[in-house]
Every structure is written in C-alpha cells, then in structure tokens.
C-alpha cells in the first residue's frame, strides 16, 4: 500500500541528499566562493582551471560515489535480509564483502597485477568473483543450517578466514602493496577515478533497476520460498537474480571504496521501521536514498575532518548505534522468526 507518509519520506530523503550534495560540492574543504563553484559546474570554466579539477574531481565525483555506494549497500542489505529472512543480514556480516576483499587482495598483493599498470578492471572482476564465491558458500551452508543466527556466525567466520588468508598474503607482499591494501581497507569514496566513475555509476544503477524489477518476488518472499512459488513467482530465477544483484552491488562498492561496514544493515532496518509500505517497489528506492544519505553524510564528516577520519570509522560511529537501537525496537515485531 502506498501511503502519503512514504511519498513524504521519499521526497524528504531526496531533498536532504541533494542538500548534502550541494554542501559537499560547494562548501566543504578549500575556500572557493559558491558562485565560482556554480559557474564551474555550469561549464563556464575550462578543464585547465585548477579549481575545476578540484571541484569536479575532489568534490562532485566523490559525492556521486558516496550517494550511489551508500544506496547500493543499503539495497544489497535489504535484499539479503529478505532472502535469508534475517534482520541482521547484510553484505558485511554475511562475509560477502570479505569475499570481495579477498579478490582485491589477490590482485593487489598476489602479483596478479603488474606494477604500475592499471589493474582496476581486474580488481573489479576479482572482487565480484570473490563476492559470488562467498555467497555460494553461504547458500550451500544455509541448506544444512536452518538457524538464522548460525548463518550469521558462518558469515563472520568467512570474514575471519578471509582476513587470515590476506594476512598470509601480506608475508609475500612488498611494502607498497601492503600499504595500498591497508589504505583501501579503511574505506574512501575519493578513490574512484574520473575514468572509472561511469562504470561505477552504471554498475550501481543497473543493480538498483534490476532489484526494482524483483520487487514483486521480494514481496512474496517474505512468506518464504514455498509460498512465493505458490504465488506464481519463478523462485529459481529470483534466486539467481538475488545472487547476481547483491554480489555486483556489494562487490562493486567494496572494490572501489573499500569494505564499508554498517550501511548495509542499518539502512534497511531503519527504512522498514519508518516506512508504512510493505511493497518493495517503495522500500527499494527508499533504501537507496537512505543509503545515499548515510553515505554522503559520512563523507561530509570525513571531509570536515580534513580527510583525517577514515570512512569506516565514521560509518561505524553512525551505523552501530542505529543497529542496536533497531534491534531493541524490532525485538517485538520480528519475534515470529
């Protein structure tokens, strides 16, 4: 059911995200008059202008990345929560981000990439492969482990296992490689290059679109897979769709921005608490905007700290309390699972 409240929420989130975008592009960081920013964005200034490079590369691009990455993580989290019927599921907890990290680590430190070459594409592929791999292991184990909590523990163990493997890779890696990996692990929305941003945004938006088309299936899936099938949903196709979409979204973000925690669990929880709707056609865009909001808000904080606060520190500071609060609030309403 669509209600006025959801439309208001959607519009409010959209306006807040746009305002934060303006704030991030126009004011935070180097002191450039806002009118100059406008004229630069309006195309009145040339590419050679150092302010142009600064505004576009250091402010606009990372803001766009922050919004789409946050939104992507939130959608991946939402879908995983419905799929695994677990309000605490998310790309981070289930080890999907860890899988992607393993792919990235293998490319950065495993000698797969030649020094000095552009290994961006390779990292993306390796990251998606790692995320898919982690999801398949989870799916396999979830056949035998019906308990929701146990599956989360399995996801955490996957995470530990991966970091152990990465530690082993550290042994053979040189200092520059190790440094690259550690910096990546802190998370940042600033590392997506101008040449990569189109790929990144297309990847994220196609994930958003595909998940919108899965709304009806997700609506039915709240009753469980058997019921969903009896409601005419092609559950096999939906399962494949869910695996691909969540892997691509989580891996895409992880590869480009680092393993960003908390947004993926916190946002879907919040949205489901606030929203009146149970139709995913509404919940998915709400989650995207909610994730985008948390993403860019975190980036604004990072930039207010002169980039000295790592992104993952900020998302943890904001996200962890939200998760605890929602667990307390939700305890009752999710008692049935």
């Amino acid at each position: 059911m669509k209600s006025k409240r959801d439309i208001v929420l959607l519009v409010a989130l959209l306006i807040t995200v746009v305002l934060l975008l303006l704030l991030n592009v126009g004011f935070v960081g180097a002191d450039i008059p806002f009118s100059d920013v406008l004229s630069i964005l309006g195309g009145e200034s040339s590419v050679e202008n150092p302010s142009w490079t600064y505004i576009v590369e250091h402010r606009l691009l990372r803001s766009v990345v922050a919004i789409s990455a946050g939104g992507a993580l939130a959608i991946a989290g939402l879908i995983l929560q419905v799929f695994f019927r677990n309000p605490l599921a998310g790309p981070g907890v289930l080890g999907i981000s860890s899988g992607a990290s393993l792919g990235v680590a293998a490319v950065i430190m495993g000698g797969f990439a030649q020094q000095g070459t552009d290994h961006a594409n390779m990292t993306v592929m390796a990251g998606i492969a790692g995320a898919c791999g982690a999801l398949f292991i989870l799916l396999f184990i979830s056949r035998y482990v019906k308990n929701q909590l146990t599956l989360l523990v399995v996801g955490l163990m996957l995470g530990y296992f991966v970091s152990a493997l990465v530690n082993i890779m550290f042994l053979s890696a040189d200092q520059a490689e190790t440094r690259e990996y550690v910096l990546w692990g802190l998370g940042s929305f600033a590392d997506v290059k101008r040449t990569e941003i189109l790929t990144f945004v297309i990847l994220m938006c196609s994930g958003l679109l595909t998940s919108m088309f899965m709304s009806k299936g997700l609506n039915a899936l709240v009753l469980g897979s058997d019921y969903a099938k009896s409601l005419g949903i092609n559950t096999k196709l939906l399962r494949v769709g869910i695996i691909i979409v969540t892997s691509v979204l989580a891996a895409g973000v992880t590869v480009y921005c680092g393993p960003i925690s908390f947004i993926g669990i916190a946002v879907p929880q919040l949205i489901r608490l606030i929203s009146k709707s149970s139709n995913h056609v509404w919940i998915i865009p709400l989650c995207f905007l909610g994730g985008g909001f948390l993403g860019i808000a975190s980036d604004v904080i990072v930039r207010f700290s002169d980039n000295s606060l790592p992104l993952n520190t900020v998302t943890a500071l904001i996200g962890a309390p939200i998760i605890i609060w929602t667990i307390i609030k939700m305890n009752k309403s999710f008692a049935g699972i």
């Binding site: 009896s230 409601l231 005419g232 139709n279």
Partner: protein
C-alpha cells in the same frame, strides 16, 4: 528417494467439496501435495487439472488455480494483517505488485467472511497461533483460486481453533464451490470435517465419498480395532 513408488491409485476425480488426505507418516502425503503443486515430478501416473497435465502449467498459471497453506505460518517483517492478506493477490498483480482498489475491497470482503475483520489493522506477529493460521487461510482465499490445498493446517492449533478452521473450510467449499484438500492426522472428527476422503494405506490410495464409511476405513488402515 528418486523413482521409488509411494503408492498406487485408481483414477480419482475431485470436483468441489472438502477432501481429507490421510495416511501415516511417510506414506506420501506431502509428496502427493508437492506433486499437485508442481514441485515434485511424478515418476509414473498423472495428475491433471482442468483437463491438462499439471506439469504443463507454469507456476504463474498454477498460482491462479491453486492456493496453498502450510502448517506453520511464517512471515519476515512486521506486516499488518491486511498486508498479509494482500500478498494473496500477487498472482493477479502487475510487475510492480501495486494493490488496486479492487484488491483491497476483495481482501476486506474475505476478512468479513471469515470473521477476522477486527484483526485487519493489527500486526501479524502480534497474533496468536490460531489467529495467524486463520489469516494464512484467508490469504489463500484472497488468491481467488478454485482449489485450496492445506498441508496439515491445524497441526499447531488447539481443539477449538482446529474446529473453527475446519468449519471455515467446509463453509467456503460449499458457498464458493471450491475444492479444498487438506492433509491431517486428526482422524477422530473426519466425518464432520470433510465429505471426501483420500486414504493412503499400504502403498495404495483409497478414495471414498461416503462419510459414514470413513471411520471403518481408517480403523482398518491404522489397525485401531481388530
């Protein structure tokens, strides 16, 4: 086990009314139900629906003909009862799953018919087990299908709730000319609960439409009386 023969059966034709599916654990009730739902491939024999074999139906087409209720209601999320009932309308909805005014009216009518109107605005998770199962059955009614299959719908209900569910099924089968098939282990009240019986005994499925004979058939099958 694949390819293992569970039971043989003569040709049985079911039209409308309430049919009980009875058999001991492991006799093949659930497999039979899954076969009707197209979830299990038959190794031999045939189940047809409206003249065509059931395997030929896509899950989408099947969902407009058969609704199902499982023994344990499960829901992820904090839906209101009305939203749970509306999930039954999914087969009839467009790709975005939006509820039309007609859907909402239909759901409210169903709720009225099965006397759960007062629950509509309540959260599903706050209901008792009996109420939850009533809602799940209501959800199946909302699917507007000619056939409703229930896999041990009253397994987790107390005597009073079970009676209520059975009376409800009987009423709907009669007034809306539906075919209701339910599996059960509660054989004591069968002659009141249903008008037809499918009994799986000794790898054979026996059909009876004479309620007076149910007791005798079941006693013989379960060796309750010598």
């Amino acid at each position: 086990m694949a390819g293992q023969l569970l039971f043989t059966s003569n040709k049985v034709e079911l039209k409308t009314g309430v049919v009980a599916l009875v058999g001991r654990n492991g006799s093949g009730k659930s497999t039979f139900i899954r076969s009707i739902l197209g979830d299990h491939e038959l190794t031999s024999g045939e189940i047809s629906l409206d003249g065509g074999p059931i395997e030929k139906y896509s899950s989408r087409d099947l969902s407009k003909k058969i609704a199902v209720v499982y023994s344990k209601p499960q829901l992820f999320g904090d839906h209101k009862v009305q939203e749970v009932l509306l999930l039954g309308r999914i087969p009839h909805q467009n790709i975005w799953g939006t509820n039309s005014q007609k859907d909402i009216e239909l759901v409210q009518n169903v709720a009225k018919n099965i006397s759960i109107e007062h629950l509509l605005k309540k959260k599903f998770q706050s209901l008792s087990d009996g109420e939850k199962q009533l809602v799940m059955i209501g959800r199946a009614f909302c699917q507007s299908t000619g056939i409703i299959i229930l896999d041990e719908p009253a397994a987790f209900l107390d005597v009073v709730n079970r009676k209520e569910v059975m009376a409800l099924l009987k009423k709907v089968a009669k007034t809306e000319k539906k075919l209701v098939i339910f599996s059960t282990h509660h054989v004591e009240t069968l002659q009141d609960d249903c008008d037809q019986l499918l009994l799986i005994e000794n790898k054979e499925m026996i059909f009876s439409s004479n309620p007076n004979k149910f007791k005798e058939l079941i006693s013989k099958a379960f060796k309750l009386e010598s």
